[in-house]
Symmetry: C2
Amino acid sequence: MKILEVIKSISNQTRLDILTWLKDPFAYFPEEELTDYSPSLGVCVSDIAKKAKMSVPTVSVYLKMMSASDLLVATRKDQWTYYKRNEEAIQQLAELIKNKL
Amino acid sequence: MKILEVIKSISNQTRLDILTWLKDPFAYFPEEELTDYSPSLGVCVSDIAKKAKMSVPTVSVYLKMMSASDLLVATRKDQWTYYKRNEEAIQQLAELIKNKL
DNA sequence: TAGGTATTTAGGTAATTACCTAAATTCACC
DNA sequence: GGTGAATTTAGGTAATTACCTAAATACCTA
């Protein structure tokens, strides 16, 4: 785990928000948009972009940044890319800050 | 604790390094520079700047940023400003990432 | 009060980050 | 093979961050 890369990937309000939203998609995304949602896949790029009120390309890059830092997991299915949290990595980050930082 | 402010304050390699150095000053700073070191005060700005191999003003701003985010505690004594870690805040950050992020 | 050391503040430039739109790619389906 | 939806990549500008040097401030001590 590259601590600086991970921290940079969450040093932005929108990216922090996305992490929160993905913790409980049912609570944060409108129900009608999650018809094809499954916890094992996560939420697709355009739904997240809509929720963030930002352009799809910007959010696409943000999501890629967070999966590069390992905090998110991407799954491509047909033409959609779904993102979900990587809970293990998030706990690992917490531990790293607790013990090593 | 303003999570974004805290994260931004450690989203830089030098600032991360400083946190590490202050965890164990005896291990990271040359002995002769810590003659007046005390754990209750910490290490002064110019010693940290020298260790970081950066200008004093830059490091002064970095340290101020980290004390503003609560990760460091500053103590002014005569013409010196000493900085030490705020262990409680660091643990609080770890908890926040563990449970809330 | 003058001079010296430590620090902070100001002000500047270069690099990085934060977005956007347009274009390219991927993949379904007809 | 062509069209359409979702996504990614490219390429651009504005804002922020990363540094620096110079100047100002704070606080000793003679």
